[in-house]
Amino acid sequence: MTAYIAGAFEHPTRKAVDKTIAQLHAESAMGALADAGLSISDVDGFFCGNDMPGVGAFAIVDYLNLKLRHIDTTDTGGCSYMIHVAHAAQAIAAGKCNVALITLGGRPRAEGMATGTAVRAGHHAQPDLPFEAPFGNVIAGSYAMVAKRHMHDFGTTPEQLAWIKVAASHHAQHNSNAVLRDVVTVEDVVNSPLVADPLHRLDCCVISDGGGALVVTRPEIAKTLNRPLVKVRGMGEAMKGQNGGKVALSYSAIASAGPRAFAEAGLTPADIKYASIYDSFTITVLMQLEDLGFCEKGAGGRFVQDGNLISGTGRLPFNTDGGGLCNNHPNNRGGMTKIIEAVRQLRGEAHPAVQVPSCDLALASGIGGSLGMRHGGSVVILERE
């Protein structure tokens, strides 16, 4: 017994000067429910991360006035949403809810947040904080350390990483809502200013506002709705940190989460027609492609180069909405939009210029948190019935 994604909605804004965080959650929720043909009163399960202000889900559940049988506020940063889909499917299979709503909303761009380059305070009682905070790490630095080590271990080049942005830009040119719509070249990427060696500005995703929502429901309800059936077929989640000092940055939590998702689905990477791969930075994508098994560990650079991720010409069409690298990374959490584009592809509702023919099997993979310090990884495999 599994569950179906019946509603998916990406908020159209990318700079929400005229919306509150709560409104962004609500507008996204209403958009996904309308997409599904369901109403807010149908919702009996709710999933949300820490992006709604306040402790847990108290504020958002009351704001939306949800009447719930199931609540889950798992937060693993940007990849929380794959976990929410998985946990919703599991709750539905266990009979704990019928209609699960998952929301995301935020406005870091309107608030002038320097997501990748500003030092973040952390909680004063985190046991790691006193040993790390004084060194002034930032998110871009954490990912850059991983890229530097990958180059050392496997000979990955800045040009190979650049191909990941190039591919995303080829897709974003067709997306009228994308933050960055210009097609870029490898030279454009490696000539952009260094943010944290070896990552350049164009190796980094956009900072954008907005959000999105998903509706997950049981088979009996999904089959009454007038939408293509998108089934949750495989799921995996994991976390990875410094391992007590045995730091190993050549692989991510996806090396654990990905194989379990494939095993549950009874599929291999060769079966996947479209992949949404979390793209906070180019190195994030490369790491996941290896850890998911689309290529051998260390071979990610060769896999992504020469347009292999471009829809229509490459072996693995990826992030056909333009991804976080070019389209949208709402509230610094890219997992929701990864799942939404996978659902579009499976429904045949992606932009015609990037729609994968006969797209029946898709994957959405995410990494949340700080790849070089402590992070989460999560994967969902979806099927069009």
Partner: protein
């Protein structure tokens, strides 16, 4: 910038779990926790060994010798090198690499720790090339 921590700070100097590290660090010593059950060191220091879960962990002084595991260079407002150093004890610690030309620093380069006062008044190891 963080407020300077004082000797009563429960997260550092007065922390029941890590206090000995902070006091020794102010005196120029790098203490690691070592587990006598599984014979491995760990970082950052904890009461329970993160490798085997035992509480038979004890403080041991490190000579602070190691090699660069990875690093990055943040350029603004002024260049600073952030990275991990793998100590000869076999564990890697997050740190700044100092007294070096960031553009010629290499992974694998041998480095040596010195305890450095941070903006908040605590002492942490930073590493400089041999």
């Amino acid at each position: 910038m963080a407020e300077a921590t004082n000797r009563d700070d429960p997260q550092t100097w007065a922390n029941p779990e890590t206090g000995p590290y902070w006091h020794a660090a102010a005196g120029g010593k790098l203490l690691l926790k070592h587990c006598t059950a599984c014979d491995q060191a760990h970082w950052y220091p904890r009461h329970f060994c993160p490798h085997c879960g035992s509480d038979r962990t004890e403080w041991r002084e490190s000579q602070g010798r190691g090699k660069v595991y990875t690093f990055t260079v943040m350029r603004r407002p002024a260049p600073r090198v952030i990275g991990y150093v793998t100590l000869d004890e076999g564990i890697s610690i997050f740190t700044n690499i100092v007294d070096c030309d960031p553009d010629s620093l290499q992974i694998g380069q041998r480095v040596q720790a010195r305890m450095a006062e941070q903006a908040d008044g605590t002492f942490l190891p930073v590493f400089a090339p041999d």
